[in-house]
Amino acid sequence: MHLDEIYQEIILDHYKHPRHFGKIPEGQAMVDEENPTCGDHIKLNAAVADGTLRDVVIECAGCAICTASSSMMAEKLVGRPVSEVRDLIARFNAMMRGGPELSDDELGDLTALKGVRKYPLRIKCCTMAWHGLDAALNQLKA
């Protein structure tokens, strides 16, 4: 088994101990998305102040990849300027779809998710939270 390709320690760590996770009461999520092909379910709230992403709260019923990707994303992006957040979301999602690769320096822990690109059926698991955060930021802008 080539488990280490995508199931690296860092991913398992975020899966078992997800950061920025919490319970979001029914009807209070800015984004509530389900992946109809597999049932992965993400609820997400974001808070922005002074042009900075101040907080993200995620509730996720998903696989290790979906959970770890959500957790690592929040850890990476909370506290950054919204413009930077949006830029990284766009480039991360593009990379997962086969676009230009981001450097390991820039990705940090997220580098562990690069292996998921080899498994087309799992890319959606990996990008769900990222699309969710993007949608939440759109709502905050509106």
Partner: protein, 414 residues
């Protein structure tokens, strides 16, 4: 008369070339996703090649030799299907793209003609989306209501609740013969009898049962039976709607176009006789003839032996799966088929499917197109191993060994 040899799973398996194909860096394929679609035997593969190399032509029109051959084989497949499910009249066999289209045909044609506000359509809480959504669509246009027969924690229908539902103005009962998630074989015969006593017609979703067990629509007395070819060794894109001829005669067409007409003027048209009235456009000719070839394979084999093999293998699978610590089996009906769904505490079904795939093992993970059922179980997804006659104990052993590794991996993680 040819003699039918006792069923031999290894010999049967050898007729499916894809099962000998290595996957994921040379690992032998362990295919445990037959409830989604079965693999195809050489007889069907050869038949498809033969069709396109010797008789490809459009059917029911043209008088040239190839058209004659194709039409003869196409209609002969209808006769084979009728015989296979015990339908006395081949005119009761309508070819569709699959189970889904067959159910939609009944919902749109029969449903729109018969359902009125206040009528009830009774379904079950264990249906596949293909036997829920078509009824939601027709309910929205007719004002009919939907009601669901619940199931017990074991995964069996609550027949007392069914009887209570039948006190109301029920026009139609539509239910699966065998659950694609729980494996449950439902007591359709008694449900059909009770529905008929209450004046309702019954549609049976046979997508999982027809491939597995002998079906006799005359004895069962269902009004409609829908099933798919691709879950019984035939190509994808061909399915069957069986309906009692009197019902078909009275139903308006579903799709309009060529094939299904008798006379067309600029103002109006009249319809062809059944079943052609329901087969608009050029049908899936190769698929239909391939379905006939798959039925030939069934009829040449020891079907009782094959079924006993699958039943014994299902029992073996359940017994061995229980060795995996934290595994919860979903569906413990007394009468069941070879769809075995489970969850493992602490490991998401996606991760399970991904891990076992690295060992060359194909299982299904997700909601199996039965979200209401999965939700009732308190889950968002399950893992399903589903069997067919070509599976052996070695397949189950490989799955269990792989699951034990998955479990160990996630248990030791930080």
């Amino acid at each position: 008369m040819t003699t039918v040899l006792p069923f031999d799973a290894e010999a049967f398996r050898a007729r499916f070339p894809i099962l000998g194909q290595p996957v994921r860096d040379g690992k032998p394929l362990v295919y445990l996703d037959s409830a989604a679609t079965t693999q195809k035997p050489v007889e069907v593969l050869d038949n498809q090649r033969d069709y396109y190399t010797t008789m490809n032509a459009n059917v029911h029109r043209g008088i040239h030799r190839l058209a004659e051959l194709a039409t003869e084989h196409y209609e002969n497949a209808r006769v084979k299907v009728a015989r296979f499910i015990g339908a006395p009249d081949p005119r009761s066999i309508v070819f569709t793209r699959g189970t889904t289209e067959a159910i939609n045909l009944v919902a749109q044609s029969w449903g729109r003609a018969h359902l009125t506000p206040g009528d009830t359509v009774v379904l079950t809480a264990m249906e596949h989306h293909s036997n829920i959504v078509p009824w939601q669509l027709v309910a929205a246009t007719t004002g009919a209501k939907l009601a669901y027969i619940p199931f017990t924690p074991e995964g069996e229908l609550d027949l007392a609740a069914f009887e209570r539902l039948m006190q109301g103005p029920v026009k139609l009962v539509a239910l699966t013969h065998m659950s694609n998630v729980l494996g449950t074989i439902n007591p359709v015969e008694s449900i059909i009898a009770a529905a008929h006593r209450a004046g309702a017609v019954v549609l049976v979703d046979g997508a999982q049962s027809v491939p597995f067990m002998p079906i006799d629509v005359a004895a069962m007395d269902c009004d409609f039976l829908a099933f798919s070819g691709h879950k019984m060794m035939a190509p994808t894109g061909i399915g069957v709607l069986y309906a009692k001829p009197a019902l078909l005669e009275a139903m308006p067409p579903f799709l309009g176009g060529g094939e299904m007409i008798s006379k067309v003027t600029l103002e109006s048209s009249t319809w062809a006789e059944i079943p052609h009235k329901f087969e608009a456009g050029t049908p899936n000719i190769a698929g239909t003839i391939g379905l006939g070839a798959a039925i030939d394979v069934y009829e040449a084999m020891d079907r009782d032996g094959a079924r006993r093999h699958e039943e014994a293998l299902t029992a073996y699978a359940i017994e061995r799966l229980m060795e995996v610590d934290g595994l919860i089996l979903r569906g413990r009906a007394a009468r069941r088929g070879g769809a075995v769904s489970f969850s493992i505490a602490g490991v998401h079904p996606h991760d399970i499917a991904h891990f076992v795939d690295q060992d060359g093992i194909a299982v299904r993970a997700g909601h199996m197109c039965a979200q209401p059922l999965i939700r009732q179980l308190g889950e968002t997804a399950l893992t399903r191993a589903s069997l067919y006659f070509y599976n052996t104990r070695a397949d189950i052993d490989a799955l269990v060994a792989s699951l034990l590794r998955v479990k160990r991996f996630f248990d030791r993680a930080p």
